[in-house]
């Protein structure tokens, strides 16, 4: 007898016994998780070709153990480095990294900028909740100035990264930002990332009502998503606004999407050259 759980249209992508996942009620990670499965489904990527590489942090628990695909849950900050090895070893694989803002831009920052520079065909889904959620709410490189967190009790003195700008500057050939409110945009961007060859970076602003939301006085996930809606400015509109007007806003959309030879393809071409040169 098929239970109703097995009839969810995305049930086939889930590991048996992995539900419910361990994210908090209303956590944006769950929305990112479902969006990814919808994108995979729509793009028709076979599951046995997908490898998910997860960092440490709440976002790492999106694919692990939830998705029924080859999963590599690695050390903090390093999923992009591990993923680079996976992709180069078997370029046929669709290698997707799930990482958080702290995981990929603090401890993992070096790997992020080099992967973008190399244009290795790894797809990075960066879930940005502007805080270190898993460890209790410490300030992150993406936390806005002035916010009081567990480790900035008198207010954050530092300026935050604009992660999308960072990756563009590092040479990212596909960079987009959406929020969990804008699921259609998230799914569409994931599909684009999954069906193109080069390095792809998708930043998803995601609600952490328990740690970040509390800091800005919004403890309800619904209210945080409405806040994302209000604070989001499309790329087109943002072009006509000043730095000051954009302060505290999230510019959403696709920033760059260009065709540059992907690294594992370049290796394949070089193999041919090298084998000719040996004789």
């Amino acid at each position: 007898m098929i239970t109703e759980a097995e009839s969810h249209p995305l049930a086939k992508y889930l590991r048996k016994g992995a539900q419910p996942h361990t994210h908090c009620a209303g956590c944006g990670n769950g929305i990112v998780a479902q969006s990814f499965l919808r994108a995979v489904d729509q793009a028709g990527i076979p599951m046995n070709r997908i490898v998910c590489v997860a960092g440490i942090g709440c976002s790492g628990w999106i694919p692990s153990p939830f998705f029924d695909v080859d999963t590599l849950h690695v050390t903090h900050g390093r999923p992009i480095a591990f993923a680079t090895g996976v992709k180069l070893a078997n370029p046929e694989l669709e290698v997707v990294v799930f990482t958080g803002d702290g995981d990929c831009s603090a401890i993992g920052g070096n790997h992020l900028i080099h992967a973008a520079r190399r244009n290795i065909g790894v797809k990075v889904i960066c879930v940005n909740n502007m805080i270190y959620g898993m460890t209790g709410g410490e300030v992150a490189p993406t936390t806005p100035r002035g916010i009081r967190t567990t480790t900035t009790p008198f207010g954050n003195l530092e300026r935050p990264f604009d992660l999308s700008k960072l990756v563009i500057a590092a040479g990212g050939t596909y960079v987009a930002r959406w929020t969990t409110y804008h699921v259609a945009g998230v799914v569409a961007a994931m599909k684009e990332a999954l069906t193109r060859k080069g390095f792809s970076f998708l930043e998803v602003m995601s609600q952490c009502p328990v740690h970040y939301g509390r800091r800005i006085g919004i403890t309800d996930p619904v209210e945080m998503m409405r806040w994302f809606q209000k604070q989001s400015i499309t790329l087109e509109k943002a072009r006509e606004m000043s730095e000051q007007e954009l302060s505290g806003k999230f510019v959403i959309g696709k920033f760059i999407d260009i065709d540059v030879p992907e690294l594992s393809q370049l290796y394949a071409e070089q193999f041919k050259v090298a084998s000719r040169e040996s004789n």
């Binding site: 046995n48 590599l72 050390t75 680079t84 090895g85 078997n90 050259v273």
Partner: protein, 372 residues
Amino acid sequence: MQGNEACALGAVAAGCRFFAFYPITPAGEIAEKMSQLLPKARGVYIQMEDEIAAIGSVIGASWAGLKAMTATSGPGFSLMQENIGYAVMTETPCVIVDVQRAGPSTGIVSAPMQGDVVQARHGSHGEYAIIALAPSSAQDMLSMTIRAFNLSEQYRTPVIVLADETVAHMREEVVIPEEESLRIVSRKIPSSQEEAARAFLSPSVAPMPVFGRGFSAHVTGSSHDEYGKREASAPEAIDKIVRTISEKIESHTAEISETEEVLLDDARVALVAYGSCVRTAEYVVKRAREKGIHVGLLRLKGLWPFPSRAVSEALASIRQVIVLENNLGQLLPEIERAAPAGTETTFLPPETIATLHRPDYVLQHVVEAANK
């Protein structure tokens, strides 16, 4: 041929098709040679942004099905420890060549030292076991690298080739074995979904569910069960992991860690040495024998798991043991513990650490020991 070059040849002969590196002296020549050899063998040479990424990408490549290696020296080896622990925890085959140099810290980049011996055993946090081999010649750099790959595949573990600057940079005659004569071991791949599901914690080493074959492997550095399912609240789970992983290696010490006995049968004095110290020891034994002194050499080829039983047996009738190490006694406690009760053990570092032992200096101590 240079030791480092021989290491690269050995790696490729063993089937290595992924090599990630971050530049560091004195391991550079391994990388240069790999960067020339691998593309012709359709293997990937990549220079990563740091040593942490080097070992990380090696582990990723291993899970995607390739035999993978990195090479470094002390400072890089220190950086790699977290991910080495990850490879241990996830039972990932991979080879790490550590060409030890004088430390701590930046130290002297091109001077020999054996300061990473304890680090090779316990450099990562947590409780675990690991394999480390100590080459003493350029030939060893080739053959022990092949052996390192075989052991890593057989036991699904990272294996450290603990070279030192002298062995890495020395140039001597190297015999390149015929491909047909080589014994190459590769990881077992599961033959069914069922077999693939139980991917971890088998004392007889579970088949490895490499990616891309539909096995849906779940690989995590968190505490887990034999299915790779995270078990992060039960101490019993981590107890099982710690004991199983350690036993997997330690219970096979005799097969894993080789020793070599030179002229010990009629000896009352013995030198114990590994790595570049072996070369001095061999020469001292020859000179001492010419003087009529019954001295022999116990050469340690595998350092971890420490071959206690082989050492005990080899030193059974030895009265005076002189341990040569280019450090302040890192393997010494293990040797002392394994030496028979009636044996006196003396530790003899070089007069100047970070140089090779002066043969006359060692010979002097051998003569003194023989006269006791």
